[in-house]
């Protein structure tokens, strides 16, 4: 792990600089008892930058994706086991952990085959490559920033320290920041060595591919920016390997490579989780369509109970608009008038903010609009789809973060609007017996659709019933407004709306000339108040509805996931001969799980047979193609083909290094990595 440890005390706390505390101060007593030096050390300990060099272990990996010759892919071993070296430091305000990689930039030629050749020399001080490399050191790690943090717990301070400076302890979150610093000479310590080529050498020409050890100033101005290229390479510098989408057998093989001892357990968990996600994927469209089909009924039920919401909103909006601070904001940031008319603005604002058309009128229009079927339906569809998609996130497979990608899609866009047919497993329950199973699940999870004048009797936990019951909790709003619709919230939103409008005019170039006619000014002030009131009221009602609806949707999806979990475990954990006698709790989910597990196993069997390797070698032979797979897997997508997935396990080694580095402070437990 770490070869040595050095702590740099780069900043002294101001309270310790004076040496001694004032007479009578509790510190003075402690200084008398324990000595000035000990007290100063204690106080300094949490306000300094500490830096340690670390070596993160790196492993060789086999990627089963080499197809240099069509039809004859071969396995290749990448990376090395020498480890990635860098510095970790802790400090700053707010307290953060910084990973710093020192990169030595040198001049050295390459052969036509890309091999290094000739002497390695220092890049001259005035050479443009220095400024360019310095720039890369600044921008390339930037992509990594804002992605993760280290999270841990600090115990309460006890003893004499706790008496002087009580600290109840609590969670500690340390943002992870990444840096690269250049090293220009040939002898100073460096973590990585890189050859830099001037603008005269075009990357991609013969013998000049870009890789982690060869950077090029001239990459043709391509939109695939040098910042992105070197951000990827920076990932390698902190120990991350390339990993790409894998088939199920390949993923099993990769798990075996990572740890043979846990491969079987992890493999079984991977397959169970795969089938769970296949079932949930297959149910996504039928469930979404069921709720979408009931949008009119849901909206009507919520509209019937919206009276107290409208009444509450009108009262709170009236109070917010007449607040002196809000009126003052309208006067200062509203329409500008000629010097002659400016004195009238005060009275115009008072009139507009007190007018019923801008309070109860706005409240009525906003509630009517937001409780209309299109608006409510769009909100529910969006939130329900987000909840259903949320279960398809990263999977924890025996402590290993894995992306399980159910190929295809539900035909629903990110707004929650069904725009096309579902594709792949997502369409598995569209026809035949699986469709009947999905209908059965939708009847229980969402509730049957209303087909006549009398609503159907739905189970107590059915989603539609739960949604339509929401207004029963709104009657009390006539007496007391909910927090989301309070005057204080509306005042804040009015202020935000006015500031945002001013920013939009200022940055967007939409500021108009001062108004010179009285009627025009009155109309402009009135419009300004009405627009801001409408914006604030609309925002508050949308926030209110989201806060009401979202938990209902999430609860329903959580229950569905639990049911699918149970049935998949039963189907995949019961011997085939005994399965018929093991009664399922939900026969429709059990049937879907059985069908989709059969589909998965058929593809796995076909791929395994197609990619079978000779005994004694790796479990998967990449030299043979495999039939198309419905499910693919990845372990480190950020380092391959997904631009925005930064998974916690990609930063886990940094947490391990941090925990063993001596950078943890007194009373702090182990930290783990979280993405943010």
């Amino acid at each position: 792990m770490k070869a040595s440890q050095r702590h740099e005390r780069s900043r002294e706390p101001s309270r310790a600089k004076g040496g001694e505390a004032p007479p009578g101060h509790p510190l003075a007593k402690l200084q008398q008892a324990a000595g000035n030096r000990a007290v100063n050390q204690m106080l300094r300990a949490e306000d300094t930058v500490q830096r340690v060099p670390v070596t993160a272990p790196s492993r060789q990996e086999t990627l089963f994706n080499q197809r240099g010759t069509p039809g004859q892919a071969t396995a290749a071993v990448y990376g090395g086991s020498g480890g990635a070296t860098f510095d970790m430091s802790r400090g700053g305000t707010p307290d953060a952990v910084t990973v710093t990689v020192r990169i030595r930039f040198v001049d050295q030629a390459r052969t036509a085959a890309g091999a290094d050749t000739g002497p390695k020399t220092v890049i001259p001080a005035a050479d443009p490559r220095r400024a360019w490399a310095q720039g890369m050191c600044t921008t390339a790690p930037g992509v990594w920033n804002g992605r993760a943090r280290l999270a841990g717990q600090r115990e309460a301070r006890t003893g004499i320290g706790g008496m002087i400076s009580p600290d109840p302890g609590g969670p500690v979150a340390l943002p992870l920041a990444f840096r690269a610093v250049p090293v220009w000479d040939l002898t100073s310590p460096a973590d990585k060595e890189v050859r830099v080529f001037s603008a005269a050498t075009v990357a991609g020409s013969a013998g000049h591919p870009i890789d982690a050890a060869h950077y090029y100033m001239n990459r043709g101005g391509y939109p695939f920016s040098e910042e992105a290229i070197y951000a990827h390479e920076y990932g390698h510098l902190i120990g991350l390997p390339d990993e790409y989408s894998q088939s199920n057998p390949q993923m099993h093989a990769l798990m075996h490579d990572i740890d043979p001892g846990t491969a079987a357990t992890r493999g079984a968990a991977l397959d169970r989780e795969t089938v769970r996600r296949m079932v949930l994927a297959a149910l996504t469209r039928p469930l979404h369509d069921r709720v979408d089909a009931a949008r009119g009924e849901i909206a009507a039920a919520l509209r019937r109970g919206s009276g107290p919401v409208r009444q509450s909103l009108a009262g709170q909006l009236r109070a917010a608009l007449t607040a002196p601070g809000v009126r003052n904001l309208f006067e200062l940031s509203g329409p500008t008038a000629s010097a002659r008319l400016t004195p009238r603005i005060h009275a115009l604002v008072n009139a507009a903010t007190a007018a019923g058309r801008n309070t109860s009128g706005v409240a009525g229009r906003v509630v009517t609009s937001e409780f209309a079927t299109p608006a409510l339906g769009a909100l529910i569809n969006n939130r329900y789809f987000q909840a259903l998609q949320g279960v398809q996130g990263n999977a924890d497979v025996g402590g290993l973060g894995v992306n399980i990608n159910i190929e295809g899609h539900a035909g629903i866009d990110a707004n929650g609007v069904a725009v096309t047919n579902a594709v792949g497993v997502w369409n598995a329950a569209a026809t035949g017996a699986a469709a009947a199973n999905a209908t059965g699940v939708a009847d229980r999870v969402a509730g049957a659709l209303r087909t006549g004048r009398v609503p159907p009797v739905r189970p107590s936990g059915a989603l539609l019933r739960q949604l339509e019951s929401l207004p029963s909790g709104w009657a009390a709003f006539s007496a007391a407004a909910p927090a989301a619709l309070s005057s204080a919230v509306l005042q804040a939103d009015l202020g935000t709306a006015l500031s945002a409008a001013w920013l939009a005019r200022t940055l967007g170039g939409g500021a108009g000339a001062p108004i010179t006619r009285g009627p025009a000014l009155a109309a402009a002030v009135d419009a300004s108040v009405r627009n801001a009131a409408t914006a604030a009221a609309t925002n508050a009602v949308r926030a209110f509805l989201t806060a009401e609806i979202n938990p209902v949707l999430q609860t329903s999806v959580t229950a569905l996931v639990a049911a699918v979990h149970d049935e998949v475990d039963r189907v995949m954990g019961t011997p085939a001969g005994a399965l018929a006698s093991a009664a399922p709790r939900d026969p429709d989910i059990a049937a879907l799980a059985t069908t989709l597990n059969t589909q998965l196993q058929a593809q796995v069997t076909a791929a395994t047979a197609a990619q079978a390797a000779a005994p004694g070698t790796t479990p998967v032979n990449p030299g043979a193609t495999a039939p198309a797979q419905s499910v693919t897997y990845g372990t480190v997508n950020m380092m391959s083909d997904n631009t925005k997935v930064f998974r916690p396990d990609q930063f886990a080694e940094l947490a391990n290094q941090f925990n063993g580095s001596g950078l943890r402070r007194d009373r702090e437990g182990s930290f783990h990595a979280e993405t943010v």
Binding site: P70, R179, F224, L332, A504, G510
Partner: protein, 253 residues
């Protein structure tokens, strides 16, 4: 999220650049070429997200068609995962990965570079973001992001309130408190983007106030969400794609 993606099945050649912080796609169709930028750390694209039209001259078009034909015929070797970055080329139902610094990538560069310069001047539906800390009259100084619809069509987007970051030039960053109100245009109308999709009319600017955040010199603001991608398809079929934009913060002097 498993949602409909760009439908490039009709493209004679499609090129995708993906890397940490980068997602851009170029596609040549029979009736023209399109470029979608969804994330880039490099100027001028870092502040942009959306769809652009590219006019291809005969020479450029011929070169791209030739490359597309070779991809479709399997004549462009897949470089696999060799440790460097790759471009994904697709044509005729075949997809290959080629090294970013390799010969095929160089060919793509030479053919598309002039087209992208043209495309930058021809946004169809796209937003350009600016960041500034300013003090509106009567209000305290606020950090804000301005989204301007720079294309000839409206731009529809959603914003991820949890995605906003303030990032220093040398690495330190902080998460910005999630705003509770979305975009507002100059007349004070709510465009939203948080609870409902924001539709920004062409030429209009919507501002997003990032309350509770302060900015220091040299910092950038990064934000993300989804944007509707115009293209050679009906508007109702336009996919919603994740985007990420960033801009340096203009500070008052």
């Amino acid at each position: 999220m498993s949602t409909p993606a760009l439908d490039l099945s009709a493209a004679r050649l499609a090129v995708t650049w993906q890397a940490p912080g980068t997602h851009q796609v170029f596609a040549l169709f029979d009736d023209g070429a399109w470029f979608w930028t969804l994330a880039s750390p490099a100027d001028p694209w870092s502040a942009l997200a959306g769809a652009f039209r590219c006019d291809a001259g005969d020479g450029e078009r011929a070169a791209l068609l030739d490359l597309g034909a070779r991809v479709a015929a399997g004549a462009v070797p897949d470089s696999g995962g060799t440790g460097g970055l790759a471009l994904v080329l697709a044509a005729g139902g075949r997809t290959v990965r080629v090294d970013a610094g390799g010969e095929a990538a160089g060919e793509v560069t030479r053919a598309t570079l002039p087209l992208l310069a043209v495309g930058r001047r021809r946004p169809v539906s796209a937003i350009e973001v600016r960041a500034a800390r300013m003090a509106p009259p009567g209000a305290p100084s606020v950090l804000g992001l301005a989204f301007t619809a720079i294309g000839v069509e409206p731009t529809q987007l959603r914003l991820d309130a949890e995605s906003v970051r303030l990032i220093g030039a040398d690495g330190p960053w902080q998460q910005v408190p999630a705003p509770r109100m979305g975009l507002v245009e100059g007349a004070g109308n709510l465009l939203d983007g948080l609870y409902a999709p924001a539709v920004i009319p062409a030429g209009t600017t919507g501002a997003w106030v990032l309350a509770g955040a302060d900015a220091q010199p040299g910092q950038r603001v990064r934000a993300g969400g989804t944007v509707r991608a115009s293209g050679p398809w009906a508007e109702s079929n336009a996919p919603l794609l994740a985007f990420e934009v960033s801009a340096p913060v203009d500070l008052p002097r």
